[in-house]
Symmetry: C2
Subunit: 345 residues, 2 copies
DNA sequence: CTGTTAGCGCATTCAT
DNA sequence: ATGAATGCGCTAACAG
């Protein structure tokens, strides 16, 4: 009872000379208040500096205005932008954002954060954590138990749940097709950790196109990195020594691409003449790499916003069909062509 | 009254055959419950999958477990890490994090977000927004009105408020001293936008050291950038053409340093032989720049954690003296020496 | 249009 | 060690 003697609806009612109900009506913009009363109340509210206690409102009305967001890896460009998109759109819809970050995906940690959110009476949850093969099932089970709407971001679809994601498969295809179109013949790939769904999808896109080109024995053209600049560097060395005729690489992200550029330089290869490179992410530096990096732009912010929109629809039970099945839930990344891949530009 | 018929404390009490009080006591780990009763209740709770309604708890007890965090620019490395640090430490203390992002700093937006937080009954607020000269006063006034604890991050001190910040001035000094020690003679600087407090402080540190070296007419050695790679590139061109004898640059962040490296290469300058460079931030790529970048490591995560620690102390009125005046509130960045500045390494 | 009554789920008195 | 009564600040349902 650490009551800061904050002003309550009662105080306002008393000084305004009306009942608390009228105040409540004004606060909630109900139509059934006389203009005079409304005006008077609004004035008193302003004068007293009154702000309604949202906690009490939630308890009373049985619904909060809070959505829970479970995030991961904000140090990375993508996740941070997704979160930004979520927050912006949430504010637009009048939601507050309760944030929890997770970096371990065992059952205990997952359930703790979900339980906490449920206890906080969130309206819905956005699971903004990239899909990992080794935690998929645990998460599916945990999420399945929830009785509130959930939207998941950047993972493979789950039955009866809404998943919004970048179409990484399409991204892989676009990158690889572009390289072949530019006349490169031997297109390798450096992937992210293959425990990541995103990395797998990008690889699958690459694989499809390479096979379409009639190539065989292509596994030697694959190197699994770990998203870091360093692993891009290593990856190039490994691929290049195993495939002396290598002339292009689709790299799983922009940071690794930077490593590839360095390693290529060190090995006396010119980019894009001797080696074509396409990255993924379009981080803000990519434009200024030397040479400027061709890459796939991920509409991360839009993705975050879409997650909130879907959650909102779910909460208000609007267009549920569309909500679950919309093609829009899979957003295609956009190829940004720059110098690193344009041999005949 | 969208009652999802969630299990309440009453249900648990009924099936456990005790009063709601006993349940409440068990939940709050009160000592005055018999071991048998406790065990029984805990079992029932587990069986029923009961989770206490935090909203109701907050209303009843008059205190929430929520802290409000106002953030900015998560796409950037520093702010994202600060937020990560905040979340981690908050979870440690048992706080939930309510997140709001702001990108405009006029009175209306500022007051809206603060009012919202107050209405949500947050225990305290962390203002994790870099200081801008043009919004300092508005913010001070807005924050001053609050009756709950506030901790501000990375701005100049305010009377009667807690500010935790990286010692950017020291960072500027360290970088510049290091360059002179390495034998460079004409050390310029490329700053961030000077509306940023951080940029100003770094510049001031540089200025002090340069003056100590007996240099005069030093304004021509300053270029104001905007944190982007591109502006680092421009900055180098501008400084180099105005100062042909320039042989080192303290650059306000790592991204601009990348631009400088590119521009220097283009102009046929070798790094570090002809040009020494020190950046700021120690982004994860810095180690892999070519050459590897000497830079100041910002303990952003620790900074976020410290903000929460201070807030917690404030909330519980622990060590208030220390809280406000501690030297620790100003965290010194650490110089990471790499190749870009070691001429005689 | 407005006021009255009741209750959201829990913690905090007090009793016992 | 336990239970009964009371109220947190607000909204919902009803009455007028």
């Amino acid at each position: 009872m650490v009551n800061k003697s904050r002003i309550t609806i009662k105080d306002v009612a008393k000084t305004a000379g009306v009942s608390t109900q009228t105040i409540s009506r004004v606060l909630n913009n109900r139509p059934d208040v006389s203009p005079q009363a409304r005006e008077r109340v609004e004035e008193v509210i302003r004068e007293m500096g009154y702000a309604p206690n949202i906690i009490a409102r939630s308890l009373s009305s049985g619904r909060s205005n809070i959505v829970g967001v479970v995030g991961f890896g904000l140090e990375y460009y993508g996740p941070a932008k997704v979160l930004t998109g979520i927050e912006k759109k949430a504010t637009e819809y009048g939601f507050s954002v309760l944030l929890a970050l997770l970096d371990q995906f065992d059952q205990e940690h997952i359930e703790r954060v979900l339980t906490q959110f449920v206890a906080q009476q969130v309206l819905g949850i956005i699971w903004a954590i990239p899909g990992f093969t080794d935690s998929m099932e645990i998460i599916e089970r945990a999420v399945d138990k929830l009785e509130i709407p959930v939207v998941l971001i950047n993972r493979n679809p789950i039955e009866k749940k809404i998943v919004v994601a970048v179409d990484n498969h399409s991204g892989g295809r676009q990158a690889t097709e572009h390289l072949f179109q530019q006349g490169y013949q031997n297109v390798g790939t450096i992937t992210g950790p293959l425990t990541w769904w995103e990395a797998q999808e990008r690889l699958a896109g690459w694989r499809e196109v390479v096979k379409d080109q009639g190539k065989s024995n292509i596994d030697r053209l694959i190197f699994e990195g770990d998203w870091t600049v360093e692993s891009g560097d290593c990856g190039f060395e490994a691929l290049f020594s195993a495939n002396p005729d290598l002339d292009a690489i689709f790299v799983g992200n922009d940071q690794m691409s930077l490593g590839v550029i360095q390693a290529a330089n060190r090995n006396g290869l010119r980019i894009p003449e001797d080696l074509g490179i396409v990255g993924f992410d379009n981080i803000s530096e990519a434009k200024f790499f030397f040479p400027a990096l061709t890459t796939l732009h991920q509409p991360a912010r839009r993705l975050g916003g879409l997650a909130v929109t879907r959650l909102n629809e779910c909460i208000h039970k609007i267009d549920l069909e569309v909500c679950y099945q919309s093609e829009e839930n899979r957003i295609s990344p956009e190829l940004i062509v720059r110098q690193s891949s344009t041999r005949f530009g």
